[in-house]
Symmetry: C2
Subunit: 397 residues, 2 copies
Amino acid sequence: MTDFSATHAKFHIPDGVIYLDGNSLGPLPVAAPERMQKMMTAEWGQSLIGGWNEHGWMAMPRSLGDRIGRLIGAEPGHTVLGDTLSIKVFQALAAAIRMRPDRRVILSDTGNFPSDLYIAEGLVDLLGDGYTLKTVAPEEVEGAIDDTVAAILITEVDYRTGRRHDMARLTRAAHDAGALAIWDLAHSAGALPVRVAAEGADFAVGCTYKYLNSGPGGPAFIYVAPRHAEQAKPALAGWLGHDRPFDFDLRYTPGAGIERMRVGTPPVLQMAALEAALDVWDGVDMDDLRARALELGDRFIAGVEAACPDLVLATPRDHASRGSQVSFRHPDAYAIMQALIARGVVGDFRAPDILRFGITPLYIGEAEIDAAGDTLAAILREGAWDDPAFRTRKAVT
Amino acid sequence: MTDFSATHAKFHIPDGVIYLDGNSLGPLPVAAPERMQKMMTAEWGQSLIGGWNEHGWMAMPRSLGDRIGRLIGAEPGHTVLGDTLSIKVFQALAAAIRMRPDRRVILSDTGNFPSDLYIAEGLVDLLGDGYTLKTVAPEEVEGAIDDTVAAILITEVDYRTGRRHDMARLTRAAHDAGALAIWDLAHSAGALPVRVAAEGADFAVGCTYKYLNSGPGGPAFIYVAPRHAEQAKPALAGWLGHDRPFDFDLRYTPGAGIERMRVGTPPVLQMAALEAALDVWDGVDMDDLRARALELGDRFIAGVEAACPDLVLATPRDHASRGSQVSFRHPDAYAIMQALIARGVVGDFRAPDILRFGITPLYIGEAEIDAAGDTLAAILREGAWDDPAFRTRKAVT
């Protein structure tokens, strides 16, 4: 049984803060500053260029990739780190559509994170030749899969509402129609058990700075199913995806399997922070985490619904249909969230009317859930959010 | 006049090491660990998600981009950080060829860094439709520019020999033929004065972990000439290049000017190290740096040629035709470099037969140049490199 009081102690949460925004940026692992100092002074400082060999920097995208692979149910050796999630979406899409050369449609849904849609839009615009991005409502994806679809591009958990797609079912529907399935795990990896291999995902991508706690700008990851690993053509054919990068050949030869999804020099400093963050996960069982997150989520929903009749639950109640966040709607959601943050309860706002709370059992327990609910209720009861200071939008939230 | 003894003190060079490999990975700025600790504990640790606003993380790709812009002669507001150099090459190429829709040729040369060629190869393979990458010898680029060429993709300074292209001349030749010029400044930024605006470059890209000393995996940069900034179409249409990323629109609208060359979440931790590294540059005049680098380079060439008759200079003697590194050829270059490193003089090897030495006046002076030459001469005189331990290739060099 996973000991969540032990994991809680492994994060730095500032005094007076209840942090329910780990679905946007995970908190600092206590061990990360020391790991980073070692990277800066002992590795970079002392080994200089030799660090690539002496400290295994070049291998980190694969070794850390496999540690994430465990959390998403990937076969060892088929997950690699690098770049940002948007770049990884581009890589997966470009590879997938070339595996279905007679088809021209990328199918996604309006609940997808906009950057995924933008990247697909950019790719089809670059390619021309009849390629299109078709976007339907989340509940209409399955019915829209037909033999024109090269790939579906689906984010498993909706970034606003926490609504969860059925990965096994949609993947099967895609395969039945001869299409490929690309899964964005931004709000899944580290949030719930994912089984990319067992459920047949063709490609999966995700980021590490949310539930995995790698810090701002931490690298993304990509998984390619073993059955495709030697066929996938890398559109972003960078030297570190070459079969022999240090031969400096003039022609590109893709590396073996997932290696070809590497592009440029990996972000070694960011990976040091990620390494410390992944150490926290070593003792965590994803089924334990899921059970705990649902229990805490239910508790939060019950508490808020009882005390805040003006808030409307945006997250599905059904466990199977939701991720690890709980969201409520209110016309003044922005101001309410600002008032909440001013009292030390940090969630976030998503346009137009969503109050979003990440339920992250690694460092959140009953006490935090209850205190957050009580604070939210007090703010609504007092009308404390109705203040010009809370209504002024910040540039970034 | 730039005070190079002052800049020398701002880098950590391990005891007993003469570091002539800053053209591969710059050394640790003394101020970087403390800046990183502040980022980790005070910014990420204490501000959590609020760091994006409170500490200006979201603005760093532009503000640090402009500090690099000064070093490459860019107009303020037209350089942005992010991703890796390979990704930035892809962005520049994809934008450029779409600005010349009737042309199908990307022209480069065999002296280019292979990743640039691979990225171009990946792009033309993705696009099909007659797009080709044409690669000629470096001295044949100018003659190969014709009205089929959409863009030339040229690395100013050859990563092996240090041979330098004439940016003004090739850019003019490209423009005369109606083509665009993309310059890779990997071995130029921080190595010599670059004048992207004055010399008419259409796009420029580069990395920060070499002469700019941002640490392993530091972010890349891209410059788009102001005259193209509102026309360039971003093929990698990520959300942070959107005009209003936090509106979460379902359709992509490119941001103003260089903003659209942003893709995903910026690497905030890597940028903290870069920020400390750029502080060192504040008092540095690029013309002073260039004069000093050439003086030191000449001294190294003279010393080595006098003492090591078996080494053949690979770098042009002519100042205008070389960058800030000095390279020699020898059939046993690999083993010689390993023997040299074992004695604390760190340069590097590039296949098949190049000994490469970065001349970086920020932390290298006459004493280091003379000691490096003496050590090299001793190794050759003694035949000390002819040892199986030095002949065994490492995976990464």
